[in-house]
């Protein structure tokens, strides 16, 4: 018993000492700001940017906190709700911005922007389409986008340009094989390229099945991005201009039915796939193309040219141009105690220099001048998709394409619910109409609770 006492006494002392150390701490001289961001998304680049920034601003220490995207919403949310001021810089998704702006959790950046000279931050350089979608709410700017995942489409250029395949396609469908401009064409191509082992692809016999399309049909946020690409290109919306909920309109049902029917041209793992799996499928020579897909994955998906002999990857706007569009932004929390310092870092990250570094490191910037720069586009390994992306963003700006969904104060919550309902409809767990009707009811309830 004595030994036990002594041991527990020792542990107790140790604990007290450790706790004392923790409590006493010691105020560092530099101002500390914390940036909450998505784990795994170019955290190396983030660390480099922080190093550069801290060299220029020796009185500010930036701590980056990596949080898995699947729980980023609630982890940032709980700190914002609790007004803890724990995170100075908040990474926002397009759908969270209206919610958090409405709740008064994000600090409007307009004053800061007005005071910042053009050389440091050129707001006009940021894609206007993205500013509208990802940054502003009711006329004020709440976040600066630093990373866009706007969708286009990836496809196996070598398959599309193969003479044998082209001839066979024309014979079967009566029109030439080309990058699809409509979802019906997209479907035909997917059907065309779905082959069983023993059949031929590009003249060679297959020993494992090949599929026309890779789909992210798992119960993750990516499924609704794929579905919304179809929905929007047919003129449908989740919430229309008048503010009515139209997610169960006939167009929406048609879009979901179309999506569901595409599943038979996708690998069986589609029902639990997110974007990682689709990229892996492309690299393993399993699919011919994607649905609306995040162009920021370009640096990863181009590796198919290494893993599959003869493969050439191509990018194009998705049929209808209006695939899912959005960006991750960084905003300043209302309860941050160091807003000035946070702004210094925010404009540093959004500056052209940092964004160029980001681009060359494999990131996808939102600055149009960087996207359109031919020298940067020439970096095939990381920036080969920039030309297509710039075209897509220009198209959105030219045609003034907006989606009222991104201005709804419950957009984030709708987004969470969407993935469940779309997955149910796509998997056949519930009839398409029922899934969308239930979704409408939920959205109505959520909206009714907004004050």
């Amino acid at each position: 018993m004595n030994k036990k006492r002594r041991r527990s006494g020792f542990i107790g002392m140790l604990v007290v000492v450790l706790l004392a150390g923790l409590l006493v701490g010691g105020e560092a001289e530099a101002v500390k700001i914390r940036w909450a961001t998505i784990a795994g998304f170019y955290t190396d680049w983030a660390k480099e940017v922080i190093k550069d920034f801290e060299k220029q601003n020796t009185d500010i220490d930036v701590e980056v906190v990596d949080i898995d995207f699947g729980v980023l919403y609630e982890k940032e949310g709980i700190e914002l709700v609790g007004k803890t001021g724990a995170y100075d810089l908040i990474t926002t998704e397009s759908c969270w911005k209206p919610e958090w702006a409405h709740a008064g959790w994000l600090f409007p950046l307009d004053d800061f922007i007005v005071k910042t000279p053009r050389e440091e931050l050129d707001m006009k350089d940021i894609s206007p389409a993205l500013v509208k979608l990802a940054c502003s709410y009711k006329g004020k700017v709440y976040a600066l986008p630093y990373y866009t995942y706007t969708q286009g489409m990836f496809y196996r250029k070598d398959l599309f340009e193969d003479p044998l395949e082209k001839a066979a396609f024309f014979k079967k469908y009566g029109y030439p094989l080309a990058v699809p401009k409509a979802w019906e064409q997209h479907r035909d191509i997917a059907e065309f390229f779905t082959r069983k082992p023993g059949e031929k692809l590009k003249g060679k016999t297959l020993d494992k099945p090949f599929y026309g399309v890779g789909m992210m049909a798992g119960r993750f946020p990516q499924i609704q991005d794929e579905w919304m690409s179809i929905l929007w290109s047919w003129g449908g919306e989740i919430i229309d201009e008048e503010g009515d909920i139209v997610v169960n309109s006939p167009i929406a049902q048609k879009a979901l039915l179309h999506y569901k029917n595409m599943l038979k041209f996708a690998p069986p793992g589609a029902s639990t796939s997110a974007y990682d799996e689709v990229v892996a499928q492309m690299k393993e020579n399993m699919i011919a193309m994607t649905m609306g897909f995040y162009l920021d994955q370009a640096a990863n998906i181009i590796k198919v040219e290494e893993t599959v002999p003869g493969a050439v990857i191509g990018a194009a706007p998705a049929p209808g141009w209006t695939a899912y569009i959005g960006a991750f932004g960084i905003g300043i929390s209302m309860d941050s105690r160091h807003k000035e310092e946070a702004w210094k870092f925010l404009k540093f990250i959004s500056s052209k220099k940092a964004q160029i570094k980001f681009a060359l490191g494999g990131g996808t910037t939102c600055l149009m001048s960087v996207l359109k720069d031919p020298e940067i586009q020439a970096h095939r390994k990381t920036c080969w998709h920039y030309k297509t992306l710039a075209e897509i963003l220009d198209y959105h700006e030219k045609h003034n394409i907006t989606h009222p969904f991104f201005d709804s104060p419950v957009a984030g919550k709708i987004y969470e619910e969407l993935m469940i309902k779309i997955n149910e409809g796509a998997m056949g767990t519930k009839p398409v109409k029922q899934a969308l009707d239930e979704l409408t009811a939920t959205i109505e309830r959520l909206r009714a609770q907004v004050r």
Binding site: V81, A103, G269, T272
Partner: protein, 301 residues
């Protein structure tokens, strides 16, 4: 001298209260405060993304939960399906294995030690490992399936197998609990009635039916109560394995509460559901305890 007497008299009289005070104070403050806070949230419209104060809402949250939200009943159904499946499988398997182990074998200690291991594992940690084992392409379960000639499946993504996958996990982790308790119970049974029955020529089944089972019944029911109450709080493995999916087929009440509270930030509504659930569980336990008391001759849990 006098002061010492006074102090020792004081401590004599209030000795038990002095002993109990520290623990009870901590418990009362830290248990009752959240309970009352949650109750307060349930009685107000507490949606955390709405700026401003939270208006009083009376029993609105409770009414909405019971009358207007099919998901509440659906998730309760899922909870019931999970709990009943998992606990009954654990009871049956646990008893069977306990009977199997109730004999003199070498390496008793080793066997018991190994069977305890699943319970020692953090559910979230080992749950993620099971996610890997359930993986449709790289998981080892599908490997065993194809080796045995059975169909490979997408265990966690398929509506027909998702709940089963969760149940199998829980059975793996908690059957040892049943095994050890039943084993202890078996080893504590008095020997004479059994010897007498054998002398009388009763068959093994008869002995089991009239002696073993009735004598074990109070123990079994007690352990059933404990296991059920714990199974109702199942959360970590859902986080690791299915997150409520596919669709909402594995959304139990705990997961639904998480969604409402931390995705929709409607804490008032979530709290009201929690209280309704607590009420239901208390009633359920009271029923089970009454059953226990009717079986038991000595004091039960």
């Amino acid at each position: 001298m006098k002061r010492e007497n006074k102090i020792s008299k004081f401590t004599e009289k209030y000795f038990p209260y002095i002993l109990e005070a520290p623990a009870l104070i901590i418990i009362f403050i830290l248990a009752l405060f959240p309970l009352f806070y949650a109750l307060r949230m349930a009685l107000h419209e507490t949606i955390l993304t709405n700026p401003g104060s939270h208006p009083f809402a009376g029993l609105n949250n409770f009414r909405e939960a019971l009358n207007k939200d099919p998901m509440v009943w659906y998730s309760l159904k899922n909870t019931a399906i999970f709990t009943v499946s998992a606990v009954s499988l654990e009871m049956v398997l646990g008893c069977a294995i306990a009977f199997l182990l109730n004999r003199k074998i070498k390496f008793q200690g080793l066997v018991r030690g190994l069977l305890l291991l699943p319970m020692a594992c953090a559910p979230i940690a080992v749950g993620l490992v099971w996610r890997y084992m359930y993986h449709p392409d790289f998981g080892v379960f599908n490997f065993f399936c194809s080796a045995l000639g059975l169909a490979e499946r997408n265990w966690l993504g398929d509506v027909s197998t998702a709940m089963l996958s969760l149940v199998v996990f829980d059975v793996w982790q908690w059957t040892p609990f049943i095994i050890f308790v039943v084993l202890a119970g078996l080893q504590a049974l008095p020997g004479e009635p059994f010897e007498a029955a054998e002398v009388d020529g009763a068959s093994r089944w008869q002995i089991f039916k009239t002696l073993t089972f009735p004598m074990l019944a109070p123990l079994l029911i007690f352990v059933l109560i404990l296991r059920t109450i714990d199974a109702l709080r199942f959360y970590d493995p859902i986080y690791a394995l299915t997150r409520g999916g596919p669709g909402t087929t594995t959304e139990t009440i705990t997961w639904y509460l998480y969604k409402i509270g931390f995705k929709f930030f409607n804490m008032g509504y979530a709290s009201s559901i929690a209280f309704i659930f607590l009420y239901a569980v208390i009633i359920l336990s009271a029923v089970l305890v009454a059953v226990l008391k009717s079986f038991s001759l000595e004091e039960g849990g």
